[in-house]
Every structure is written in C-alpha cells, then in structure tokens.
C-alpha cells in the first residue's frame, strides 16, 4: 500500500473531539494551514410552502437565488453580480439533475437561466441538461457552467453532491465507482468541465437523509428544509450540505449514525484533488432568511 490506510481505530482516536459521522473530514486528512483564507458559502432559506414539484413558488426561488448570489459576491445589484460571473459571449451549460424523486426543479433551473440571460447571454447559447450533456451541442461548446442539484443520501457514494453532479460528463460513469466513488473530484479536471464552473447551487428544498431499497428513496426520510446553498466552491457547498444531512440524521435517529456509505469523496476532493475546501473551519458560512430548524 502506498500510504498508511485510515482504520476504524483512527476514527476512535478523534471520536472524543468529533463524532464518528463527521470525524473523517479535517481530523484525519490534515488540519488547515494556519492563516488559510476562508471560502464563502451562503445558506438561504424561505418558509414558503412547497409546490407539488417540491419547490417554493418561482418568485420565491428567484429571490432566494438572488439574495444568495448577492451575499456570496458582496454585491447589492443582482445583475451586476451575475455579470461578474458570466460574460455576454459565454456559452452556458446549466448542469441540472433529473433524478425522478428529487430533481433540481424547474424553478431553480429557470431562476438561474433568467440571470444568465440578464448577464447578456442569448437564449440560444444557454442549455439545461443532465444525462445528455455529452451529446448536447450547447454543452459541447460551453465556456461556462452553472452546477445545480439537490443533495441527498446515495447508495454508493454516500451523498449525491455537486462534485458528483459532473459524472454525466464522462462516457462511462460506472468507471468512477471504485472505492465508493472516492475520486469523483478528478472528473473536474476533464476538458469538458475544467475551469468552467462559475457557480454552484446545492438545492436543499427536500433533502433525503436516508435511503432504502434499490431506488434508495422513501418519502419518510425527506424533510422540508427549504434551502439553497450557494458557493463558488463545490466542495465547501457539499461539506455544508453534508453537515445538515448528518444533523438531521442525528435528530431523526436519536444517535450519531453515519451515512450508509461514507461520502469520502468530499474530503478527498479537498485533500487529494485540491478541488475546494471541506473543513468547516475554513468556510465562512453566511446564513440568510428563515432560521427555524436550520440544524447548523
């Protein structure tokens, strides 16, 4: 073996400082360097009732996205904020997620598309797609990507995450399943996506915190969190979403029960692939809006 394996005993060593469920992140993969800059993540929530599609009303989603992007970029004018992310000559792919039970939602997709158009991009140079991205002519020419998907527990990777959302840019997604999807972050080095992501939106309207059966879904294990997590850093956004999922599991099960598969692709995206920041100590988390049941 090229490096010393991490064993259960290593988790037990840090268990006093952090529960097993979350101990994997910084304690085992190395502490953040002193003085390291923090990465900004915005969590925005709204208590409005969800529609049958699982999203708040379109105007509420637009406001959540706008408030989140403004706070993320420190900009009061939302169009100006988007113009700092997207150029008028960009070709923009909005990478969504069409999972039957908890999709990204049309409300989030359209809210993003609206602002991309406000930034000056013609509608003919914008596409929204999931499984068809490799065949989609707009994605094939894309100069900019906006990554948007819901967070949920996942039967093999631990969680369906922003990092994982780009697996459809590979011709054989199953080739990335090894070691329960440890190296998903390497997908972000592929030419189709490398350096193109301008914004990440982790949809937390009705997250799934536990799965059952081949389809890994039971409505009983979702709840109405009604949030969006927005960041330039997909790893930081995923790490924040993961903390919420773990907190919900603890609340529901009454103990610190780890996810069924360890989502080690998130800390490894940081420590092995340097895609972003997973250490909560290095994340500046801005919370906006509804605070009831925020969990973190």
């Amino acid at each position: 073996m090229s490096r010393k394996p991490i064993t259960r005993r290593d988790f037990l060593k840090v268990a006093a400082a952090a529960p097993l469920a979350g101990a994997m992140i910084p304690a085992l993969h190395g502490a953040a360097p002193a003085g390291a800059d923090k990465v900004r993540v915005v969590l925005v929530r709204d208590p409005s009732p969800l529609g049958t599609g699982g999203a708040p009303p379109a105007e509420v989603v637009q406001k959540m996205l706008d408030d989140g992007v403004r706070a993320l970029l420190g900009e009061t004018d939302v169009v100006k904020a988007w113009k700092s992310l997207i150029r008028p000559d960009d070709v923009v792919g909005i990478k969504t997620n069409a999972w039957r039970y908890i999709p990204t939602t049309a409300e989030v997709e359209q809210a993003i598309k609206r602002r991309v158009m406000d930034a000056g991009v013609g509608e003919d140079r914008i596409a929204i797609d999931d499984r068809g991205v490799l065949r989609n002519p707009v994605f094939q020419k894309a100069t900019a990507l906006v990554n948007a998907r819901p967070m949920r527990s996942h039967h093999w990777s631990g969680v369906g995450s922003l990092i994982k959302n780009y697996i459809m840019f590979t011709p054989q997604p199953s080739a990335w399943h090894g070691d329960t999807c440890a190296d998903l972050a390497a997908i972000w080095d592929l030419p189709a996506v490398k350096g193109k992501t301008r914004l990440n939106v982790l949809v937390m309207f009705t997250p799934l915190f536990h799965g059952v059966g081949p389809h890994h879904y039971a409505k009983e294990y979702t709840w109405e969190y009604k949030g969006l997590i927005i960041s330039r850093d997909p790893v930081a956004a995923d790490a924040t979403g993961l903390r919420i999922l773990q907190a919900k599991r603890k609340e529901h099960f009454g103990d610190d029960r780890p996810l069924q598969m360890t989502p080690h692709h998130i800390p490894l995206a940081d420590t092995r692939h340097h895609l972003g920041v997973s250490d909560p100590g290095r994340i500046e988390l801005i919370k906006l809006g509804w605070s009831e049941g925020i969990l973190i």
Partner: protein, 288 residues
C-alpha cells in the same frame, strides 16, 4: 436450482402477477450486471458485488395512487440472494419468502436464488396492503427454496444475534456495515465469502468477522495484513486493546480468517476465535 443455470428473463417475469388490486403493470424492463446502472445508478454496485445476473423491473400504475415497483433480481445462487437481502435488514419481518423485511413502503425478501424488492413510491394503508399481497404472490410463484451460505454455520451460537447476520464478498460492503479501513486490508474480493455477526447486548456488543479464502496461504496473508495494519501495537499477543477500551483479535485457521472486534476483554476475544476454530474443525470432520 443450479447456480450455473442461465438466467431466464421470461421465467423470472412470470413470477410477478400482471395486476395487483387496481394497479396495472407497465412493460417490463430488463437489466444485467452491466446495464443495471442505467436503472439505479451507483446502487447497482451493491447488486453487482453479489454477482447479480438479471433484473426484471416492473412498474404498477393506477391514476391517483402512488406507483408500485417490483425489482426481481436473479442472483445466480441462493447464498448471494441471502447476502444481498442482508445488505439492509431494517424493518419488521413480513413472513414472506425465506426471509423478509418491510419498512416505509418497501418489502424486501429472498427465496431460492432470487432477491425481490417491492416498493411503493409513497406508503399509504392501501399501498402497504398491496405491496405485501404482491410480495406473497411472487413468493408463492417461485417454486424452489435455497440454502443460506454454509459459512454461517461456523458462527459460534453462544451470544449470537442471528437476525443481524450479514453475508458479502467485498471490502466496500464490509465497511458499509462495520467500517474497518479505507483500504482492503483483509484482502476481500469476488472470490471470498464473508460473514459479519453481532454478539452480546447493548453494553457488551462485539462483532465477529469470518472470511473464507481460496486456500490457507491466502487466509494467512489476509491475517498478516490485518494484524500489520490494524494491530501493529499487539506486540505479538493475540489481542490488542483499541482506543475505545475494547479488544480486537485476529487469527487464520485453514482457509479462514476470523476477526473479533470490540470484545470486552482479551480473553473474550480469544475465546470467540477458539470457538470459531472448533466450528471449522467440526465442519471439516463432518464433511464427506
């Protein structure tokens, strides 16, 4: 049913009724170990790790009611059907097939070489009744019965919580149930069989892992690998005290490697390994 028999999609589909109450079935979908990802994404890796041969998926639909989905897996052998069933044992025993659980709209059961999932996309009183009825009818249609893995017979009975026994082949599945290491330090793989069992109650819960390898040399290498990585501080002793104050011990015996985790004392850990050795000797003695 012979493990080497070619999977028969038509026969497997015939076990599933065309209707259940007001629900009508849609066209079947068929998947193998390569195409299963198209249906259930990465979850397919679980079924592949248990050597799945074929999946017939049938959706039942009735306007105004949640859909019901039947996923019928031909696992090729009853040991693997049992094994994949033990992957998720959460739920109440539904008394269907050769082992079953029901929870949150999902019925799982195994019979012969088949593993079945009958799942309502939303649980209501009506879908619960339909799911259980559908499961019973499928189980009754499957003519044969299969044997659980022979490896289970090596588990010492004293203190065993048999309802949580797990059978599997790979390190990923071991870690799913009981995280050991982020590397395959026990040298598990498609050719190994493993059982993980729980012993004791809440206060003295421990786990026993028994792995069957191709031969004694392979088992010896696995035991040495485990001791080197997990028990480097054992100092040549049979058991080591771990960071939670419990004890871990490991031993190779013939083509088996046994590991005790979280025993309350070194003596308890060693005693359980000795019990496994006696089971192995007894099984050898009773073999033709």
């Amino acid at each position: 049913m012979c493990a080497s028999e070619k999977p028969d999609a038509r026969r497997l589909a015939s076990y599933i009724p065309p209707t259940i109450g007001p629900w009508l079935s849609e066209a079947d979908q068929s998947f193998d170990a390569e195409t299963v990802f198209d249906y259930i994404d990465g979850a397919g890796e679980v079924y592949r790790s248990y050597n799945m041969r074929l999946l017939i998926a049938r959706r039942f639909h009735k306007d105004g009611r949640p859909d019901i989905v039947v996923d019928a897996f031909d696992m090729g052998a009853s040991a693997d059907a049992f094994g994949v069933f033990t992957h998720d044992l959460d739920g109440e025993d539904a008394g269907i097939g050769q082992g079953s659980t029901y929870k949150a709209g999902l019925l799982s059961f195994w019979k012969d070489r088949y593993f079945l999932s009958v799942y309502a996309e939303e649980e209501t009183a009506e879908t619960r009744a339909a799911v259980l009825d559908l499961g019973r009818r499928i189980a009754e249609a499957i003519p044969g019965r299969g044997e659980p893995p022979a490896l289970l017979k090596l588990l010492p009975v004293d203190g065993l919580e048999a309802r949580t026994n797990r059978f599997f082949h790979t390190a990923s599945v071991l870690n799913y149930h009981y995280f050991v290491a982020d590397a395959n330090i026990l040298l598990l793989g498609p050719e190994t069989d493993a059982v993980l069992a729980a012993y004791g109650g809440k206060e003295d819960r421990s786990h026993l892992l028994i792995v069957s390898y191709g031969d004694g040399a392979a088992a010896g290498r696995a035991a040495e690998s485990f001791r080197r990585v997990y028990m480097p501080d054992a100092g040549g002793k049979p058991a080591v005290r771990t960071e939670n104050g419990r004890w871990t011990a490991a031993r190779a015996a013939g083509r088996y490697c046994a590991v005790v985790f979280d025993a309350i004392s070194a003596e308890t850990a060693v005693a359980r390994l000795e019990a496994v050795e006696r089971s192995i000797a007894s099984a050898r003695g009773s073999s033709p």
